[in-house]
């Protein structure tokens, strides 16, 4: 498992691709909502930019692969230099799909409370919607200094995932296509997606810290 040339090869590949590096990339932004909650708690705001400007995802949509965005929001309490406290996590997902027969885009928001679906007639409109900011109803508990971290995993769904999603939307509770899918399943899915040649990406960002006090 020791191969110095491998590192050189990877570094060489990285440095050999200047042109495409200029293309627009998906951006994840995590910020704080306005100071309107009791004790100055701030809700997290999550925004994904340039999803459809990124060629990988626009190509995947055009090839009829639904694009799935899995969000994981974690709430952390800072202990000022000591180990921070993980409070809890919230997960949700968004699936973007182009339906060529109806020439429309479908966006499905997968929440624990059930799926919510939107349809858009044009690419511009769905792109505009996807750039909107999610304000997440998940506030920290207690007082102290808090911050949020958000991990975004973007995948192009395989045929099996599409089938799972269909079942989930059809209300089959034992077919978890939502964020509740187990991690092993997700890892296997990611590997399968890689082998199948479908894109896969992961981003992580955190919010500025904020203080909750009486």
């Amino acid at each position: 498992m020791r191969r110095l040339p491998l590192l050189a090869l990877v570094l060489g590949l990285v440095s050999a691709v200047p042109v495409e590096a200029q293309e627009q990339r998906v951006e994840l932004r995590v910020s704080l909502g306005p100071d309107t909650f009791p004790m100055h708690a701030r809700a997290p705001r999550v925004q994904v930019r340039n999803l459809l400007a990124d060629k990988r995802w626009s190509d995947a949509l055009e090839k009829l692969f639904p694009v799935r965005l899995d969000y994981r929001l974690e709430i952390w309490r800072s202990r000022e230099g000591w180990i921070d406290e993980f409070q809890r996590a919230a997960e949700w997902a968004t699936v973007v799909q182009w339906e060529p027969l109806q020439d429309q885009y479908r966006v499905t928001l997968l929440l624990l409370s059930g799926p919510q679906e939107l349809r858009f007639p044009t690419r511009d409109e769905v792109a505009r919607y996807l750039n909107y900011t999610y304000e997440v109803d998940a506030l920290p508990r207690g007082t102290g200094t808090f911050y949020y971290t958000v991990t975004l995993t973007i995948t192009a769904l395989s045929a099996k995932d599409i089938e799972d999603l269909e079942r989930f939307l059809a209300g089959q509770p034992t077919a978890p296509a939502g964020p509740e899918r187990n991690s092993l399943g997700r890892r296997i899915q990611q590997f399968l997606l890689r082998v199948a040649g479908l894109p896969w990406d992961e981003r992580e960002e955190r919010s500025p810290p904020f203080r909750v006090q009486p």
């Binding site: 498992m1 495409e20 990339r25 060629k55 974690e74 929440l111 919510q116 409109e125 992961e202």
Partner: protein, 593 residues
């Protein structure tokens, strides 16, 4: 985009139109679209559906009524959202599956909406029975409605078959393992999964193991679940001796009791190739190293016998369990399976102490990690105590520095193992992980060869080469580099921070894209680590450490290093701090720990 910016769009229509409404299904205006005007969508990911506890089962009679109604040859079937425009009239039964029906015109006939809403606009007219499942009925002021109305919020577990008719789907499959093929068959309460898959490794004993067979699960009982797994194992590496059997097998029956299935009791019979140590690399990494570089980082023996297990999940991630097994353990020689880049001679597989062993184990596991794949908080603890006895063991002859002579036919020893990992976030940008791992003899006779240990290699001490500390005395020349230590103790500390250096590259180059996908490249973590470990022979005598003592700190091996973790692959450089050894480079295909 503004809500209500144009006319409705009907499914199935083609071509671009200038304006359309994007909205298809929203819950009483409280969903995303309500907040879209200010470009902020408010969501509640922690909120569960209010009907998810008491009403989560749709009456069987309703399910049958849905099937009859939708599949009726006289029914107009629609999949997806549909709007009947004002001025339009539809006569006869209408069924909508997985979408909302919005009536602005007139419907004369029965309406069945499955997993969607029925919205009747002002000025619309509906005359007929209305059944909505997985949604609600919204009647706007000014609508005229005649007929019985029923709705059930819980969604129907139905799917479409190839003919477009609704059927009750078979139980959902989970995603299978890599390189596996599964075929589910459901008969009444019994679900059978027929599967063929690889053993997810590659080594010099088995080659690529192919595993096949059925799993049969009895479902639907409230307090018990039963499962039977039957497996045949084909070893693709030929054995030129008669030491290894021709094929392996495993038969396992498991019962899980309680509503939450916390108590598990199982028994199995098996013949398989078992690893001697669970390190220095994971099973899949060992497989790739063997297949690509002809380096097998593990040793193996053949185990044939039967076992019983019992475990109880105490909640909060804590599980206790016990097992007892009786098996014949015997040495197996290395075969000669192919390797991708090197095809010389494989490292020999060391001999073990052949014999029949009774092994009793008591274990405890704790898992409170926030995210198993990439944890930033919580504990992961795996520990057990194990006692082994044998009445017919044939010990391998080892130098007295390693093990005092043992009379054949008598073995009774005990050992423990613990692996505790703590994940934490020190501050918003830095994550820390610490691991303490140890194992070894605690009582009785010296350990059999197949229970012994070593250190050195990419996992615990990456600054030191494979089996650098295996307790083989200079008097023993053995090309198999066996692990002969009685005890091992090590600790690892790791700090990591996420970098934003533009990976994976957004590229249209298919080769670079494929390489990135294959390696699961993501934003890299910069990793800084340090490791400290020692393995030793315990007991009285030269070169040994007394049973009740730990080696002095100056005898421990340590290293420091750094690397980048790119997701599916990581590159690390480690510098040993003892013995003036050179810098070592290692590649991992998963997180270090």
């Amino acid at each position: 985009m503004k809500r209500g910016s144009g006319g409705a769009r009907e499914p199935g229509s083609r071509g671009r139109r200038p304006v359309f409404v994007a909205l298809a299904l929203l819950c009483a205006g409280a969903g995303p679209a309500a907040a879209m005007q200010d470009s902020v969508v408010r969501i509640s990911p922690e909120k569960r559906a209010p009907d998810s506890t008491g009403l989560n089962v749709l009456p069987a009679a309703i399910v049958q009524e849905l099937l009859r109604s939708y599949n009726d040859s006289g029914t107009t079937r629609i999949v997806g959202g549909f709007r009947l425009p004002a001025g339009s009239r539809l006569t006869g039964p209408l069924g909508v599956f997985r979408g909302s029906l919005r009536v602005s015109g007139e419907v004369i006939g029965r309406i069945t909406v499955i997993n969607g809403d029925l919205i009747i606009d002002s000025g619309a007219h509906v005359s007929g029975e209305m059944l909505v499942v997985g949604g609600q009925i919204l009647i706007r002021e000014g609508a005229r409605v005649e007929g019985r109305q029923r709705f059930y919020p819980v969604q129907a577990r139905l799917t479409r078959n190839g003919a477009g008719l609704l059927v009750i789907p078979p139980p959902a499959q989970t995603l299978g393992d890599l390189a596996s093929v599964r075929a589910p068959i459901t008969t009444g309460h019994f679900r059978t999964d027929l599967g063929v898959e690889t053993g997810r490794t590659y080594n010099r004993i088995e080659g690529l193991p192919i595993v096949f067979g059925p799993s049969i699960t009895r479902e639907g009982l409230r307090d018990v679940e039963a499962r039977l797994d039957l497996r045949g194992i084909v070893w693709t590496a030929p054995d030129k001796t008669d030491r290894r059997s021709e094929f392996g097998y495993s038969g396992r029956v498991e019962f899980r009791f309680g509503v939450e299935r916390r108590l598990s009791v199982s028994g199995n019979a098996y013949r398989m190739i078992a690893p001697i140590e669970e390190q220095p690399l994971s099973r899949s990494e060992v497989g790739w190293a063997g297949f690509v570089l002809q380096r097998d980082y593990r040793d193996f023996y053949q185990a044939q016998g039967a076992a019983g297990h019992m475990s109880y999940n105490l909640g909060s991630g804590l599980t206790i369990g016990t097992s007892i097994r009786y098996d014949a353990e015997r040495s197996v020689p290395a075969g000669d399976p192919i390797s991708l880049f090197r095809n010389t001679v494989w490292r020999p597989n060391p001999l073990v102490d052949d014999g029949h062993y009774i092994t009793w184990r008591v274990g405890l596991d704790l898992d409170t990690r926030n995210e198993p794949a990439s944890p930033t908080s919580g504990w992961l603890v795996h520990t057990y105590w194990e006692q082994t006895r044998s009445n017919d063991a044939a010990p391998v002859s080892l130098p007295s520095e390693v093990r005092n002579p043992i009379a054949p036919g008598r073995y009774a020893s005990a050992r423990i193992m613990f692996d505790a990992r703590r994940y934490a976030r020190i501050n918003p940008s830095v994550r820390a992980s610490i691991r303490v791992v140890g194992a070894g003899w605690i009582s009785g006779d010296p350990l059999p060869v197949q229970r012994r240990l070593s250190l050195g290699g990419p996992d615990i001490l990456p600054g030191y080469s494979f089996r650098s500390f295996n307790c083989v005395p200079p008097s023993l020349v053995d090309p198999s580099q066996p692990a002969l230590c009685d005890r091992m103790l090590a600790t690892q500390l790791e700090l990591r921070t996420r970098t934003h250096i533009g990976l994976p590259l957004s590229t249209s180059d298919p080769y670079i894209g494929a390489l990135q996908r294959l390696l699961a490249i993501r934003e890299p973590d910069l990793v800084i680590f340090g490791d400290l470990g020692k393995s030793w022979i315990t007991g009285e005598g030269p070169g040994r450490v007394p049973n009740n003592r730990l080696p002095v700190l100056r005898e421990w091996a340590s290293d420091v290093g750094f690397g980048v973790d790119l997701g599916g692959i990581g590159f690390y450089l480690a510098q040993p701090l003892t013995d003036s050894r050179p810098l070592l480079f290692s590649v991992r295909l998963q997180r270090r720990f």
